[in-house]
């Protein structure tokens, strides 16, 4: 315990916590992306994957606990570091000049982080918890089932991104996430002391951070863009007809 308190109380220690928790969250972002991209393979794949995750409580719960711990550590150390940073300069310069030669991403980490956190809460309500009030379709996502009676994640994504305000918010949030990552990953490598020349490429970790952020952005955004451009339209319409038919027959049988 003494060892961890020592790390927590040192400036570099908090940066390690920041970087390592960030790394775990980046790992989650990649696995989540790989899950989501199965939408392009078809309903069978993504629904099988969804059911697999949900039935494996021995994977699901440890992963949720670890992720939540990382989120807490990441946010906690961010606020602690920021408080120390602000205390380190009690009197500011005339006219509060923008930090000299600092990139936009590096100056806005806290702001992009807060907006991403707010988006994450909305995103969980939207898809994971299936709160009907926030999805703007009037359909309860948690009742959707495919032809084999499994939760229909494929249809959920198609319906979820069929409302443009939601897709636009999603794209903006992913944009901010990637802005956050483009500097955050660079700082993460720097904090653990990994910033050297590999295979003749100088500052390779810095370049990895920038390319990674760009690729993540393109792949994540491809999903709402594809849905808004009409991907899966036939499947969605068939499913909606089925839903309305069920609703009518449900009402009739209730009579």
């Amino acid at each position: 315990m003494n060892f961890f308190m020592k790390i927590w109380h040192s400036s570099l220690g908090k940066k390690y916590i920041m970087g390592i928790s960030g790394f775990v969250l980046v790992f989650f972002i990649v696995t989540h992306l790989m899950g989501n991209l199965q939408i392009f393979v078809g309903p069978y794949w993504i629904n099988t994957y969804g059911l697999f995750l949900h039935e494996r409580h021995e994977i699901l719960w440890p992963a949720r606990i670890v992720l939540l711990t990382m989120v807490v550590l990441h946010i906690w150390s961010a606020f602690k570091l920021r408080a120390e940073n602000q205390a380190a300069r009690p009197v500011s310069y005339a006219g509060n000049p923008a930090p000299f030669a600092a990139s936009y991403a590096s100056r806005t980490l806290m702001m992009s982080g807060i907006i991403i956190a707010a988006f994450a809460v909305f995103h969980l309500l939207h898809y994971a918890l299936g709160v009907r009030a926030v999805n703007l379709t009037g359909i309860n996502f948690s009742t959707l089932q495919d032809s084999q009676g499994r939760p229909d994640l494929y249809l959920m994504l198609l319906l979820g991104f069929s409302r443009w305000p939601i897709s636009v918010f999603y794209i903006i949030a992913i944009g901010l996430l990637c802005l956050h990552l483009s500097h955050g990953m660079r700082a993460m490598f720097q904090s653990v002391g990994w910033k050297w020349t590999f295979g003749g490429v100088s500052h390779l970790p810095d370049k990895i951070a920038r390319w990674f952020a760009l690729i993540i952005f393109i792949l994540y955004v491809s999903i709402p863009v594809a849905v808004m451009c009409g991907y899966g339209k036939a499947y969605k319409e068939r499913a909606l007809q089925h839903l309305t038919a069920n609703a009518i027959s449900g009402k009739e049988s209730a009579r």
């Binding site: 570099l12 940066k15 030669a101 600092a102 720097q190 653990v192 002391g193 910033k195």
Partner: protein, 258 residues
């Protein structure tokens, strides 16, 4: 050249400060920034007013004493340049120039444009040295040092401890200074024996002085008059992690009979 100067005036740390505006007339473009300030001060003295106090020593860009923030940027923001090597030809006729001291909690203000940078000295005392007995210089080839390592250590050793990195950093972080001093000795075989102790003690002292944390914005390397770069901060982060994970070995007080 004629310039309008807005210069920070403050009697001491306890009393409030503020900007005073002065006109600098007939400035030669060949003057250095400090020579221009000398001229302004001489005119103030001649008029019976109090001159502005500012730090300077060698005036050839190698001692790290001069410390002015010009238009919001320490040393004026020209690549690899201290204020004493900044010339008036880089300014325009009629320009308004704001001159302020370094601003950081760890650098308390002494008067006008002078701050107390002994926080850096205390960091150096915590580990910026090699514990050896003095004597004759050792034979040059007794300890081989590769060209790459010698160059890296030399780059780090170029730090003149002016504190511009702290002054420019949005977090008033001293990471670039401490990293340069740690790396300089940690790279070399003479310093490697005390590598872990050095980095731990110097970082602990840095934290105690109330400097901020590194957010890798790169402002420090952009303004450093000796062009020391962020790679040294990465090196220090790595050395510190290794030192913390390794822990310390303590000698056993026993030893047996005989």
């Amino acid at each position: 050249m004629n310039l309008t100067l807005k210069i920070w005036r403050q009697k001491n740390a306890a009393s409030p400060g503020g900007f005073e505006t002065h006109e600098a007339r007939d400035v030669s473009p060949d003057m250095s920034f400090l020579e221009m300030l000398d001229m302004v001060n001489e005119r103030l003295i001649a008029a019976g007013q109090e001159p502005f106090v500012f730090d300077s020593d060698c005036r050839e860009g190698i001692c790290g004493t001069c410390s002015l923030v010009i238009n919001g940027v320490p040393h004026g923001g020209r690549k690899g340049t201290t204020v004493c090597q900044l010339h008036m030809r880089h300014f325009q006729d009629g320009q308004t120039i704001t001159i302020e001291p370094w601003r950081a909690r760890a650098f308390p203000l002494v008067k006008d444009l002078i701050v107390d940078r002994t926080a850096f000295d205390r960091i150096m005392l915590a580990g910026g040295f090699i514990s050896v007995n003095t004597g004759n210089a050792p034979e040059a080839n007794a300890l081989p040092v590769s060209k790459e390592i010698a160059d890296l250590a030399m780059d780090a050793a170029a730090c003149i401890g002016c504190g511009a990195c702290v002054a420019v950093c949005k977090n008033a972080s001293a990471m670039l200074f401490v990293a340069a001093k740690v790396s300089h000795l940690n790279y070399l075989p003479q310093g490697r024996a005390e590598k872990d102790r050095r980095v731990k003690n110097m970082v602990a002292q840095m934290d105690q002085e109330g400097f901020g944390n590194c957010t890798v914005t790169g402002s420090c390397e952009a303004v450093c008059p000796k062009e020391i770069n962020l790679d040294f901060i990465a090196k220090m982060n790595r050395d510190y992690a290794v030192a913390v994970v390794k822990g310390e070995l303590k000698a056993n007080s026993g030893g047996g009979v005989g």
